[in-house]
């Protein structure tokens, strides 16, 4: 149980790693690739120099986009001891208090001054800084810091960080799922190692990745996906060890009815034609050949890959056939009611499920339907309210 052997390797940044860049409250997920230009917060740089360093290290972006270790100093206390006024009464906001012009600042930047140094220049050239109260001074420094600092911290990805990243950068892609909501979902669905969990996620794969993180490579996750290929961009960003992939399965929901009816044929050459195949098989036998041959031409060049896909579909179908999943998580822009009613059939009795929607109204419909349908207990429609508190500012 002790941190024996100090196996540091797991904490070191390696080439090919999926990492998260951080500055202040801004995050961005990237992969470490040699000589790959990365753009973050309007600055570009290369991550090559980060390889071999420990995770959570903060770098400065040097000229030519080269990362350098930030000199050790306390970022918070580095601005010279402040002389503060007692109130802001004498400050006339005439826009003339800063003597440096925009051009001056650009020149300082070109001279290679670091963010910290530029801020000190701004303070020295502000006619009102000394008259501001301590509180106003702090606010000023913070604002300028955000604008001129050029450091970046490299983090190991986690559900917490990626959820916050998506919420800040691309809320639309994750259907406005907040991280506090995701936290509730994972707990309320009792996601844990060794179980079999169904996930219907059109939130960029963030929810799927979060479920996989909580399962730690034990058990199986079946992604139920609508039309086309499953969305898994978010899963990549977690940078899971390779063996996690073995626990992840995909099943296109357009096969659900066939699977339930016992008519899904996973021996078909092209599983993406499965639906058409099955259907026509029963009712339009004369058109089958046309269609399958049509699919066949496309399939020729992808034969090996298709065969792999077929096997995977068969494996997913086998997992589903017992209708004994331990958990069901739905998070999408789809009408939740039919999605839930369709997938609930695969759940074992006495197992939790959770459905997320950006809107309350479709969940009211879903709730009503569940109550009418019966067979579920403890159904609740909830949301959470997250508040941040700024604590510790000393007067």
């Amino acid at each position: 149980m002790a941190d024996n052997g100090d196996d540091e390797s797991q904490y070191r940044i390696k080439g090919g790693d999926y990492v998260v860049l951080k500055r202040g409250e801004i995050f961005k997920a990237v992969q470490i690739q040699p000589k790959k230009k990365v753009i973050f917060e309007k600055q570009w740089f290369f991550l090559d120099n980060a390889v071999g360093h420990l995770y959570s290290t903060t770098f400065e972006i040097g000229s030519g986009g080269v990362l350098q270790l930030r000199k050790l100093r306390d970022a918070e206390s580095s601005t010279d001891a402040k002389e503060a006024g007692t109130d802001n009464r004498n400050i006339v906001d005439d826009g003339k208090s800063q003597k440096l012009t925009r051009d001056d600042i650009e020149m300082l930047k070109e001279q290679g001054l670091k963010g910290q140094e530029i801020i000190q220049q701004l303070i020295d050239n502000s006619s009102t800084f000394r008259d501001k109260t301590g509180f106003s001074q702090d606010k000023y420094i913070k604002k300028k810091k955000k604008k001129y600092e050029n450091t970046v911290t490299i983090l190991k990805p986690s559900c917490r960080i990626l959820a916050m990243m998506y919420q800040g950068r691309e809320p639309g892609k994750i259907r406005h799922l907040r991280y506090d909501t995701l936290a509730q979902m994972l707990t309320l669905a009792n996601i844990h190692a060794g179980s079999k969990v169904l996930v219907f996620d059109t939130c960029a794969g963030l929810v799927l990745g979060a479920v996989m993180e909580r399962m730690g490579g034990y058990g199986s996750v079946i992604q139920m996906y609508p039309r086309g290929e499953p969305v898994r961009a978010g899963v990549e960003s977690f940078g899971f060890p390779a063996h996690f992939r073995d626990t992840l399965h995909g099943f296109p929901i357009c096969h659900v009815n066939a699977l339930l009816a016992g008519t899904l044929d996973t021996t078909a050459k092209d599983p993406s034609a499965g639906r058409a195949f099955f259907f026509l098989n029963k009712s339009l036998r004369n058109r089958v050949k046309v269609l399958t041959s049509c699919f066949f031409f496309q399939a020729q060049e992808k034969k090996v890959k298709q065969e792999e896909k077929r096997k995977k579909l068969a494996a997913a179908a086998a997992l589903l056939e017992g209708r004994n999943a331990d958990g069901l998580v739905i998070a999408s822009q789809y009408q939740p009611c039919p999605v839930l009613m369709g997938l609930l059939k695969f759940l074992s009795p006495s197992r939790p499920f959770v459905v997320y929607s950006q809107h309350k109204e479709p969940l009211i419909e879903c709730y009503t339907k569940l109550k009418e349908h019966g067979g579920t207990v403890g159904v609740r429609l909830t949301d959470t309210w997250l508040r941040h508190y700024q604590v510790g500012f000393k007067l």
């Binding site: 039309r227 357009c254 009816a261 009712s283």
Partner: protein, 304 residues
């Protein structure tokens, strides 16, 4: 027009609120012969404003139109020129009720800031109340006094340019309510007490940081204030929209018996039709509404 009395028609010298669109408004000082540039073109005051009814739809030179609204403290709050951080209507509404303001109330306020709360107070205490407002920043005190005049509420208010923590409110034993929005409210608590009526009254302090709230609560308790209570009120705006939800396609149901022809019609096999359902829904605020500040209320008991 006045900020404490409605008029039906726009007159020379009025301040009117030009409503350009959702959350886009501007205050206009109506003056014979003057013009105002809007994004829909020019508004000519003499022809487009003066003599027309408040609420009118007015066509601008470029052919676009705007609504001209009667000013209210609430419209002023969202259109006033910011010279400081201001208080918004959600907090103002709470302050007004919790300070028990009504016609005839005598109120002390500091700082005046940009006058956002002051106008709301004046609206509520008119026609028989009075506001004593103290602002330590000279330029701001002068500007707000000028606005009170333009808004025809100057008979209800006295603006003092002094340091409330040092010099107090300039009145003693007259106030029913005191409001503080200053960096160190605890330094003004004794002045608040002195300004208030012997019988008692209500006090409110607005602070963004909990540490300020704590020191203020301590000072209030030390000065014998009662019913000390700190709250925060957040506003959520629900955007009403028609949302469109895709319906999942689980494939055709083989247990449902269908005629060959019917099946062909409903499922054309190659390109499944994407069905959606539409419903009215409110879009929740993307961000949890922002913290403005804590409102600490207390009651001054009777003092002898």
């Amino acid at each position: 027009m006045s900020f404490v009395e409605y008029s039906d028609f726009i007159q020379d010298g009025d301040v009117a609120i030009v409503y350009l669109g959702h959350e886009s408004m501007m205050p206009v000082k109506v003056q014979k012969g003057a013009q105002t540039q809007t994004r829909y073109g020019v508004l000519r005051h003499s022809t487009d404003l003066i003599g027309r009814r408040y609420g009118s739809k007015v066509t601008c030179s470029k052919g676009g139109w705007v609504h001209v609204l009667h000013p209210t403290p609430e419209l002023w709050t969202v259109t006033l020129p910011h010279r400081t951080q201001i208080l918004y209507t959600t907090d103002i509404a709470t302050i007004t009720m919790m300070l028990e303001l009504k016609p005839g109330s005598v109120v002390c306020e500091s700082g005046t800031g940009s006058g956002s709360l002051s106008h709301a107070i004046l609206r509520t205490i008119a026609p028989t109340g009075h506001l004593h407002t103290v602002e330590f920043h000279q330029q701001r005190a002068e500007k707000v006094a000028e606005e009170f005049k333009e808004h025809r509420v100057d008979h209800l208010v006295t603006v003092r340019n002094q340091d409330v923590c040092k010099d107090g409110f300039g009145v003693t034993g007259v106030a029913d309510a005191v409001f503080l929005d200053i960096p160190s409210p605890w330094e003004a608590v004794r002045h608040a007490k002195a300004a208030m009526k012997k019988h008692g009254g209500r006090v409110c302090s607005f602070s963004p940081c909990i540490e300020q709230v704590q020191r203020t609560c301590e000072a209030l308790a030390d000065q014998g204030f009662e019913e000390i209570s700190t709250i925060e009120v957040l506003l959520r705006v629900h955007d009403v929209r028609t949302i469109s939800l895709p319906v999942p396609d689980f494939g055709s149901d083989p247990s449902a018996q269908t005629e060959p022809d019917a099946a062909e019609k409903t499922a054309p096999a190659s390109a499944p039709i994407q069905d959606t359902v539409a419903m009215k829904a409110t879009v929740p605020p993307r961000e949890i509404p922002g913290h403005t500040g804590y409102l600490t209320f207390a009651t001054k008991p009777r003092t002898s």
